[in-house]
C-alpha cells in the first residue's frame, strides 16, 4: 500500500564553515526562495504536491509523532484515492525533530532545500515551535502548526518580549490560552478554592500555571494559588513532588504533564493516595496521552481536556472521520492525529482555491481562511493566524463500546478572540488568539 509517507533520516551537515549565522540564514533563505521560483517555473520537484511533516518520532514523546503520522497518512490516502490535489498526487515527507530545536531547524532546512516541499506542518513542542517560527519567516514558506500550543507562537512579534508570531506560521489546533481558558471555566464550576499545579519544568509547565491564574482572576473565579512543582522531563520517580503537593492540601490541581511522564506520574500518584485526598485533578490535554497509552490511565471522574473530541461536534464530517480512523487503526483518534489529518486537507483546500502551490499564494489563502473539519467550523484570525477552535473539557469516563476513556459529560467552550481576550482581563499575558 502506498501511503505517501517517506521517512528520510538524512540531515544536512551543520554549518561549520565559520559563516556568521545571519549571513548563513539569509543565504539559505534566498536559496530556498530561488528553489521555490524554480519549482513554479517547472524545474525541481513538480511531480505532485510534497508536504513536509515535523514531529517527535523518537524518544519519550514519540507517541505524539506516531499519532500525527496516522492522521496525515489517512488524509493522504483519502486525497490520493479521490483524485489528489488539483489532480496531482500528494506526498508527505516526515522528519524527526527529536524534541530539539536545533535538530528541528536542520530537518526543516533539509525539507525546504533538498526536498523542495510546498508547505510544512506539524510540531509538538512549544519550545521547538518558538525557535523555528523566525526561521519559517525567513524561508517564506507556510507552516501549519498542528500541536505545539504556546500562545507566544501566534502572538504577533512585538506584542510581548517572547512573541514570535509572523505571517507564515499558522496554527489549526487550539492553543494553550484557549485550552486553559476552558480549565478556568471548569474550575469555576467546581467546589474548590485552593489550587496547585504540577507541570513539566519548561515553558509549557510554567505557561499553563500563569494562564490558569490569569484566567481565574479575569473570570472572577474564587481561587487561591497555593503550591507549584515543576519536575524535569523524564523524571522517573515523582514521589517527592507528589508529596509536596499533597502536603499543601489543595482542593484542586491542574497538571499539564503529558506523554510518558503523565503515565508514570499517574501510577505513582495513585499509590500515594493522591486521588483520595485531592478532590479535583484537571489534566490539561490529558486525552492526548490517555488514548494512545496502554490501558486507559486517566482515573475516571477526574477532568481532562483535548484539542479535539472524537464525538464533538456530532456532525457527519466528524462521525465519518472517527469511524474511518477507527477502522484503520482500531483506536479513537487523538487530537494530534486530527490536527495532522486536517493540516493536509487545509493544504488541499488552499492549493485548489489559490490555483497554485506557490508559497505566497498559500500564505495569502490561509490568512483569514474559513475551514471545516472533524473539529467543526472555524476560521483563522487574520491578526494572529490562530484557528478559532473551541476549548473542550470534560469528565473522564470509561466507555465500554469503544473500550476506551472518553470525555462524558463534555463541555465545549467557545474560545474566539473576543472571549479569550476578555477573560484574560488586566493580565499582561498575550492571548495569541
Amino acid at each position: 500500500m502506498r501511503n505517501g509517507h517517506e521517512n528520510n533520516g538524512s540531515r544536512t551537515a551543520p554549518n561549520s564553515l565559520g559563516v556568521d549565522r545571519r549571513t548563513f540564514l539569509k543565504t539559505t533563505a534566498a536559496g530556498a526562495g530561488l528553489a521555490t521560483v524554480a519549482g513554479c517555473l517547472g524545474g525541481g520537484d513538480d511531480d505532485g504536491i510534497t508536504l513536509g511533516a515535523l514531529y517527535i518520532t523518537s524518544g519519550f514523546a514519540s507517541l505524539y509523532g506516531e499519532e500525527g503520522a496516522r492522521g496525515y497518512e489517512l488524509a493522504v490516502d483519502e486525497i490520493n484515492d479521490n483524485g489528489g490535489i488539483d489532480g496531482e498526487e500528494v506526498t508527505v515527507i516526515s522528519r524527526d525533530t527529536e524534541s530539539d530545536a536545533n535538530t528541528a531547524g536542520r530537518q526543516m532546512r533539509s525539507l525546504i532545500e533538498e526536498e523542495s516541499v510546498d508547505g510544512l506542518f506539524g510540531l509538538d513542542s512549544s519550545g521547538v515551535a518558538q525557535a523555528l517560527a523566525p526561521q519559517v519567516a525567513q524561508f517564506q514558506i507556510p507552516f501549519m502548526v498542528t500541536h505545539a500550543a504556546t500562545p507566544f507562537l501566534t502572538s504577533p512579534e512585538g506584542e510581548h518580549e517572547d512573541s514570535v508570531g509572523n505571517d507564515y506560521v499558522f496554527r489549526n489546533a487550539n492553543s494553550l490560552a484557549q485550552d486553559i481558558y476552558g480549565a478556568a471555566r471548569t474550575a469555576e464550576e467546581l467546589d474548590a478554592t485552593e489550587w496547585a499545579t504540577i507541570g513539566p519544568d519548561y515553558a509549557f509547565g510554567y505557561e499553563t500555571w500563569d494562564y490558569f491564574q490569569a484566567f481565574c482572576e479575569g473570570l472572577g473565579v474564587d481561587a487561591e494559588f497555593t503550591a507549584e512543582q515543576y519536575p524535569g522531563l523524564e523524571t522517573g520517580d515523582y514521589s517527592p513532588y507528589i508529596s509536596s503537593i499533597m502536603d499543601a492540601e489543595p482542593d484542586g490541581v491542574i497538571t499539564p504533564l503529558w506523554g510518558a511522564d503523565l503515565t508514570t506520574f499517574l501510577g505513582q500518584a495513585e499509590s500515594a493516595g493522591w486521588f483520595d485526598q485531592i478532590d479535583y485533578t484537571l489534566f490539561s490535554v490529558g486525552m492526548g496521552t490517555d488514548l494512545p497509552a496502554d490501558g486507559s490511565p486517566l482515573p475516571e471522574g477526574e477532568y481532562a481536556s483535548t484539542r479535539y473530541d472524537p464525538f464533538v461536534p456530532d456532525t457527519d464530517e466528524n462521525n465519518s472521520f472517527r469511524d474511518r480512523y477507527y477502522d484503520e487503526y482500531e483506536t479513537l483518534p487523538t487530537y494530534n492525529a486530527e490536527g495532522a489529518y486536517r493540516a493536509v486537507y487545509l493544504y488541499k483546500e488552499a492549493i485548489e482555491s489559490a490555483g497554485s502551490a506557490d508559497a505566497d499564494d498559500l500564505v495569502e489563502t490561509f490568512t483569514g481562511m474559513e475551514h471545516s473539519g472533524p473539529v467543526g467550523d472555524y476560521r483563522f484570525n487574520e491578526e494572529t493566524n490562530q484557528a478559532t477552535v473551541p476549548s473542550i473539557w470534560g469528565t473522564v469516563s470509561y466507555d465500554d463500546d469503544w473500550e476506551s476513556n472518553v470525555l462524558d459529560p463534555v463541555e465545549v467552550y467557545e474560545a474566539t478572540p473576543d472571549v479569550v481576550n476578555d477573560a484574560l482581563g488586566d493580565s499582561d499575558l498575550p492571548s495569541g488568539v
Binding site: 519519550f60 512543582q229 515543576y230 523524564e234 514521589s239 517527592p240 508529596s243 509536596s244 502536603d247 500515594a272
Partner: protein, 295 residues
C-alpha cells in the same frame, strides 16, 4: 515560595530514605570498583539500567516472579560486568595513561548499552509492578506509601551492613582491603590480583544490577535511567569519598534527602543542591567526607 519548613514531615524523610537507598546500591558498587581497581566505571549507570530492564523482562515473561527477576537481573549484570572487565579493561591496567583509557572504554559501553536497550525495548518507558506480597499501601507520618518502598529502604540497610561485615570481618574482605591499599605487595604475597579484580568487578556490577532491579517498581524504566543515576552516583562518591563504603552510604542518603526535601522549598531548581554540595566538598575536602576504603 509558598511552602515552608512546617511541611517537612516523616513522610518526606521516608521518601528521601527510599531515594537514598536506591542511590546507595548504585554508588556503593561504583565506589567499591574504584577503591579496589582504581577504575572509574562510567558504564555503572548503564549496568543499573540493565538490571531494571532484565527485571522488567523476567517479570513480564512466563516466569513472572519478581524476586527471581531481581536475582536474575543482578546476576546477569554481574556476568556482563565480568565479560567487559576481562575483555576490555584488564588489558589496560598496566598502561601508563591507563586511567583515561579505562574511562573512555567504559564510556564507550555507556553508548553501546544505551543503543542495545533502545534496539530491544524502544525508547518508551515501562513500569514494573511491585511484587504482590508488598503491593499494598501503608500510612506513615501522614503519607501513603507502598510497602515495597519501605522494603527497599530496609534492603539498602541490609546490604550496607552485609558489606561492612564482609569487608571488615572476612578473609576475602581482608584480601580486598589489602589489595586496594597496595596491589604489588598483595601480588608478592601470593594474591591472584587479576582474579580478585574480576571478582570485585563482578560484585560491584552485581550491586548495580540489584539496585536497578529493586528500583524498577518505584520508577519508570526507560533508556534515560542510566544517565540519570550515574550523575547522582558520581556526586555521591565525590561527597562521601571515592572508595569509601560509609561515604557512599552517607552521600547517598544526603542526596536522596535533598531530592525529597528540595521540592518543599523551591518549585524548581533544587536539583542543583547536590551539585553545590559536591563543589563545596571538592573545594574544602577534596578526598571526600570519609576516608579510604572499608572506612
Amino acid at each position: 515560595m509558598t511552602n515552608t519548613i512546617a511541611f517537612i514531615g516523616l513522610s518526606d524523610v521516608i521518601i528521601g530514605l527510599s531515594l537514598g537507598s536506591r542511590l546507595f546500591l548504585i554508588a556503593v558498587g561504583l565506589s567499591l570498583i574504584f577503591g579496589v581497581l582504581g577504575v572509574l566505571n562510567f558504564a555503572h549507570g548503564a549496568f543499573y539500567m540493565i538490571g531494571a530492564y532484565v527485571a522488567l523482562a523476567v517479570t513480564n515473561s512466563l516466569i513472572g516472579n519478581f524476586w527471581l527477576a531481581v536475582v536474575i537481573g543482578a546476576t546477569a549484570v554481574g556476568v556482563i560486568g565480568v565479560l567487559i572487565e576481562v575483555s576490555t579493561i584488564r588489558p589496560l591496567y598496566g598502561r601508563l595513561e591507563g586511567d583515561l583509557d579505562q574511562l573512555i572504554v567504559t564510556f564507550g559501553f555507556v553508548l553501546i548499552i544505551h543503543e542495545v536497550i533502545r534496539f530491544i525495548w524502544g525508547s518508551q518507558p515501562y513500569s514494573v509492578d511491585a511484587p504482590a506480597a508488598l503491593d499494598f499501601s501503608v500510612s506513615v507520618g501522614g503519607g501513603t506509601f507502598t510497602a515495597y518502598r519501605l522494603f527497599v529502604i530496609g534492603a539498602a540497610f541490609v546490604v550496607m551492613l552485609g558489606l561492612w561485615v564482609f569487608i571488615t570481618k572476612t578473609y576475602f574482605g581482608a584480601l580486598v582491603r589489602g589489595t586496594s591499599s597496595d596491589r604489588e605487595m598483595a601480588s608478592i604475597l601470593g594474591v591472584d590480583v587479576p582474579r580478585l579484580y574480576t571478582g570485585v568487578f563482578f560484585f560491584g556490577s552485581f550491586l548495580a544490577g540489584l539496585g536497578g532491579a529493586l528500583a524498577a517498581p518505584l520508577q519508570s524504566v526507560s533508556p534515560a535511567l542510566g544517565d540519570q543515576v550515574i550523575i547522582d552516583a558520581f556526586i555521591i562518591v565525590v561527597i562521601g569519598g571515592l572508595g569509601s563504603l560509609s561515604g557512599a552510604f552517607v552521600g547517598a542518603m544526603f542526596v536522596g534527602m535533598m531530592q525529597a526535601l528540595g521540592p518543599q522549598f523551591m518549585a524548581a531548581g533544587h536539583i542543583a543542591i547536590p551539585f553545590l554540595a559536591m563543589v563545596l566538598v571538592l573545594l574544602f575536602r577534596p578526598e571526600g567526607l570519609f576516608g579510604g576504603f572499608g572506612e
